[in-house]
Symmetry: C2
Subunit: 311 residues, 2 copies
């Protein structure tokens, strides 16, 4: 049993949804119709020893807990508005420092902190819940169609490289470390994608290989992704090669990029490239079935071989 | 520095509230105006070793995490509607059992689970965020006026007695143990109180001695509470006396009752007694200043001596 099994068990036992619930558990956020407006809601928890270690300051942890939630809202094409944050730490000083990071992120993303809870806890733990407001219909994971192109914002693998740098104590890699500790959620790009009506969107938290499967599973389609096309920056590639890592494989599987993965027909994607404020790179396309990763035209087995997601 | 210092620090550094925020941090819930409706929001986190130990099953913990949030909504006079729940546990099976308790409570209180997160964590940890809907103006902590009576729903001290029974392994005390593990939030009573327009309300989570101070502090008043009047059930009293504990002191300080404390003028309180579905007991009154606990007409120092809250 793993996290996905737990979510799947819960999804199968949900009570009947009240009329306000437009989209229940299963997307980046749930979608609610409250009065005349559409809202999205999500929560994410970070735990010391699981999501971060001593190399992250409490401020970094609080900041990132807001970012990962803001990124979920961005992936719906919505605007982050309100958070609740509950923090547990071994001492009040650590709690306070963590909440300082929460407040810094709130200010940075224009999100208002509604409240929360503080408690003692052996391991620093922070859970943030977010409410985002939709100014156009939210973009779900389920709308991808065969023939759509798949594109990602920004770059991949930098956060994973930063994580390796933090774990090994390698210096001189501040940009990569910052990509891991203080990722930039793509709120503006997400809203642009929603305004243009892209077919499907997800944020890259688990890693492209896993998150592309989430889109394919929810949309009932497959995809073909070419590893050569993944946008890997020079410093990411250089550091990973020095370590003997495969940059493209880590870019596809390392996770924590908090970029957006978008499925849209070619014309629509061209408009997205033109109108958004971050680089957009086509990495593959949506197919009828099977999730396939290719390199030099050949399937890469370790990535595409998870048959329980294939169709 | 303690939890209240952390909350106070945060409260002093909040960004300017957007127009939707009617009440920010500082009450049982924040209050939001979304479209034509008023909503309340709160979150509470429970951590193994701090809020519970091995005597609580994961199902109990998940259930109670929902209860404590539902109780916050009840204290605003609102209806609990939606929750997000994030759980961390050493293994997926424990996470699943905890979420089973969450779902059981959701079903029991008519709350819909919108989603959440699961993660690994050395200590079982669950954070629930709640949205409640107001069908009449919410009741705040800040409306108490000198001359109001102070009354509590249900009974006090049973949950604290149940906690002692669990800690010491004393058997034959199932009712008290259940009061600790599966408290009953007073949603219907809270809505009745709001409909009648009581002046102030709070739920008794920290204990009457502490929570009465929260009302007094927010309302700029004092209060006089008579320990003899506290509603302590026979089994609670019997068990505590056998242990050499002072039943009234524990009823005032033990916490986790999840009853409601209400401040209202006499006539209004009579209507509340008549119309609500739980027993209501007058325990004291609101005064101009100072929080005083009396027994046989004499101040009880250990309870009323916290001068930093007195006015």
């Amino acid at each position: 049993m793993n996290e996905f099994d737990v979510i799947s068990w819960i999804s199968g036992r949900l009570p009947e949804a009240p009329p306000e619930v437009l989209v229940p558990v299963g997307d980046d956020c749930a979608v609610l119709r409250l009065g005349e407006a559409t809202w999205v809601a999500a929560s994410d928890m970070l735990v010391e020893g699981h999501h971060f270690k001593g190399w992250a300051s409490p401020e970094d942890v609080g900041y990132k807990a807001v970012v990962v939630n803001v990124s979920d809202v961005a992936a719906m094409g919505a605007e982050p508005r309100f958070v609740l944050s509950s923090g547990g730490a071994p001492d009040p000083e650590t709690t306070l420092r963590c909440f300082q990071g929460v407040l810094e992120a709130c200010e940075g993303f224009g999100v208002y902190p509604l409240g929360g809870d503080t408690t003692g806890s052996g391991a620093l733990t922070i859970d943030v819940s977010i409410l985002g407001q939709c100014f156009q219909p939210p973009v779900l994971r389920s709308g991808a169609r065969a023939g759509d192109l798949l594109a990602v914002t920004g770059e991949l693998g930098a956060a994973a490289a930063g994580f390796l740098a933090l774990e090994s104590g390698d210096g001189g890699l501040e940009r990569l470390v910052r990509k891991h500790l203080r990722p930039e959620p793509r709120v503006s790009a997400g809203r642009t994608a929603a305004r243009l009506g892209v077919h499907a969107m997800i944020d890259l938290s688990d890693g492209l290989a896993s998150d592309a499967r989430h889109i394919c599973e929810r949309s009932g389609v497959g995809c073909r992704i070419e590893l050569e096309k993944l946008p890997v920056a020079g410093d990411t590639r250089g550091y990973l090669e020095r370590r003997g890592e495969d940059p493209e494989v880590l870019a596809a599987t390392g996770g924590e990029d908090y970029e957006l993965l978008v499925a849209a027909p070619e014309g629509l994607l061209e408009a997205f490239v033109e109108e958004t404020d971050v680089p957009v790179t086509v990495v593959g396309e949506i197919t009828e079935k099977e999730v396939v990763f290719l390199r030099s035209g050949k399937p890469v087995e370790g990535l595409s071989g998870w048959n329980h997601f294939a169709r």
